[in-house]
């Protein structure tokens, strides 16, 4: 299967007042056609930065190296015009904060139509008709009336549906959902996840799902990439990962809870003692070694690489036995 999105050796460094800050280090992953890849990790692990760098949305203080290919087209280093023609059309985003991600002074209809008019060149009337269809697609009732509403007139869940409608307006190849349900109530989360699942089934959109919510992962994802301190430490099929986590960090995230893989309930990552390190440069060592209960001498002297195969792990002393059920 040829991947729709292929990220290879992606590294991101920020220039800050206190010197350079390494946020993402040689991250690689692929997303197949219609596949849902979940990128999981604690906040500050670089998952959002990875997502932003795909379509060049990072601020100017960021330096991005490596390669991001979308259907064979290289996006890293592409000129601004090319990136603009891809954003919203081929790669679309949904953000965490539905409350602030919509512009308060324009109607939702206007904000959806804007994408259609920019990328497909629809006229005002056609864009409006299509916007109503899209609102219906994401499950907003009486869309004809809602289209004239301003964001502040809608609830958080409704706004997130509008964000999704806007994102899928041009039928993008890849949808990047950055914590799409984190800011919402549990009951509303389920509805949003239903919409995303429906889109994948009906439109065949590939989804990169950035989250720290294992319930969401279990509910929606086909494959999972676990990130820690800017690196991918483990990647596997979702069932394989839940049943057979190999990286000590992943087992820490999952805890001893065997139910995590089966329940669709919202389940937060388990607390692991210590903090994600802030790195000015990537050391030649395992960045998790300080917090790792299974650390061996090699961990602090040499950086582990991902093993080949369908279930890949970057660890000198991985967990081999399946988790007790």
């Amino acid at each position: 299967m040829t991947p729709v999105l292929a990220v290879k050796d992606l590294s991101v460094t920020f220039r800050t007042e206190d010197g350079p800050l390494s946020a993402v280090d040689h991250v690689s992953f692929e997303v197949g056609d219609g596949e849902v890849l979940a990128v999981v990790g604690e906040s500050g692990c670089g998952k959002s930065v990875t997502a932003m760098s795909i379509a060049g949305l990072l601020p100017r203080s960021a330096t991005v190296d490596g390669s991001v290919e979308l259907d064979g087209t290289e996006l890293i280093g592409a000129d601004k015009r090319t990136l603009r023609s891809i954003r919203g059309r081929e790669v679309a985003y949904i953000f965490q904060e539905p409350m602030t991600s919509l512009n308060p002074v324009f109607t939702v209809g206007h904000q959806i139509s804007e994408v259609l008019r920019t990328h497909i060149g629809l006229n005002r009337q056609d864009a409006r008709t299509r916007a109503i269809e899209l609102l219906k697609l994401v499950g907003i009732s009486s869309a004809e009336r809602r289209i004239g509403d301003y964001p502040h007139q809608l609830s958080g869940g409704m706004r997130q549906r509008v964000m999704i409608a806007m994102a899928v307006a041009c039928d993008p190849k890849v949808l990047i959902a950055d914590e799409p349900t984190t800011a919402l109530d549990v009951t509303i989360q389920a509805g949003i996840l239903d919409v995303l699942r429906g889109l994948r089934e009906r439109l065949g959109t590939s989804i990169v799902l950035i989250t720290h919510d294992l319930g969401v992962v279990a509910d929606l994802a086909d494959r999972v990439a676990v990130m820690y301190a800017g690196r991918v430490v483990e990647t596997a099929e979702v069932h394989d990962l839940f049943a057979n986590p190999q990286h000590p960090y992943t087992t820490g995230l999952l805890g001893a809870s065997p139910a995590a893989g089966r329940h669709a309930e919202s389940q937060r990552l388990n607390e692991i003692p210590g903090l994600v390190p802030v790195l000015t440069e990537q050391p030649d060592a395992c960045t998790f070694a300080d917090r790792c209960p299974r650390a061996v001498d090699t961990c602090t002297t040499s950086q582990p690489q991902l093993t080949p195969g369908p279930h890949r792990v970057a660890c000198w002393n991985p967990v081999r036995e399946p988790v007790e059920v």
Binding site: L57, L83, R84, G88, A92, Y93, F95, N103, H119
Partner: protein, 317 residues
């Protein structure tokens, strides 16, 4: 929306009533017996009594206040002590000059201020921002009546680019009218332009870092739409309020500017009235200014609610 409107209207009305009381009391606090001032040369007790009766000065303050208010409401502002001309007609002939000058100044200041503010925010850290910030600081610090003097001295007198003083009504000759007003309007607008620029810059910087701008960029919109539409529209809401708040400064500025450029406007009327101790004119001028300020601020607030849908339409959430 309707409740907001009614509330706002009510507040304005209260302020207006209070302002009227202040003017009334202020005039009574003027030094000297107004009857003496009105009598002029004939100061015998008989004519003084006649004058008191004629102007109702022998009645209670309450009655006098009611007469003052009811006359003012009918547009009867009394007569000038000096010339005997109805104050109403003096004001009506002076007001258009001041209004035209102020509107021109606001337009010029808004164009320059918003333009420079957007530029400074978008070109952050570059020479454009430095230049815009520096000019704004200068605009805030320079005494604009002095700037007017300098403009007359060097642009009008030395170079002959503009007429140094005088006024031509718009309907007599629009081109000459603008030629006479453009320099005073620019001078009057400098301070306002500086304030608008600083406000635009900071609210544009706020807007540009907002989540909805990231959304607009993620949608693949061109920079023209991201900055000129999504960010600017939100920033302008704040800028409109600032223009409203600066109105008092603008009115004060207009008085001085008219004085320097010898424009026959409201400002000249005011200053002349003070020096001639023409109390009915002073009283009318103060009342009209306060009323104008309150009404215009009400209009600015309404405009504000038109621009900002969060005020115009109430949310369900």
């Amino acid at each position: 929306m309707r409740r907001y409107l009614l509330n706002r209207l009510w507040q304005s009305l209260v302020t207006l009533v209070l302002a009227t009381i202040v003017v009334f009391v202020g005039v009574r606090a003027l030094p000297g017996d107004p009857a003496l001032a009105l009598a002029g040369e004939e100061r015998d007790p008989e004519s003084l009594r006649a004058i008191r009766q004629q102007y109702g000065l022998d009645q209670s303050w309450l009655v006098q206040f009611w007469k003052f208010v009811s006359h003012a409401a009918r547009g009867d502002l009394g007569e000038s002590i000096r010339t005997g001309t109805p104050v109403r007609s003096m004001i009506l002939s002076a007001l258009p000059v001041t209004i035209e000058l102020s509107v021109l100044a606001i337009v010029i200041a808004s164009v320059i201020g918003v333009g420079a503010g957007v530029l400074a925010a978008v070109r952050r850290g570059g020479p454009a921002e430095w230049a815009a910030n520096g000019l704004a600081l200068l605009g805030l610090s320079v005494p604009h009546f002095w700037l007017g003097l300098m403009a007359i001295l060097y642009l009008s007198v030395a170079l002959g680019l503009f007429p140094a003083s005088g006024f031509v009504p718009f309907f007599t000759n629009p081109v000459a009218n603008l030629h006479h007003l453009i320099l005073p309007a620019v001078i009057l607008g400098t301070g306002l332009a500086a304030v608008i620029m600083r406000q635009t810059r900071s609210s544009m910087l706020d807007a540009l870092s907002a989540d909805y701008i990231r959304t607009a960029e993620a949608k693949g919109l061109p920079p023209k739409a991201v900055i000129g539409k999504h960010a600017l529209r939100n920033s302008l809401i704040v800028v409109v309020t600032i223009v409203g708040l600066q109105l008092g400064a603008l009115i004060s500025g207009a008085v001085v500017t008219e004085r320097i450029f010898a424009l026959p406007g409201f400002g000249k009327l005011t200053v002349d009235a003070v020096f001639q101790r023409d109390y009915p004119v002073i009283q009318a001028v103060v009342l009209v200014t306060a009323t104008a300020y309150i009404v215009i601020n009400l209009l600015v607030d309404l405009l504000y609610s038109v621009i900002d849908p969060r005020i115009r339409v109430r949310g369900e959430a």
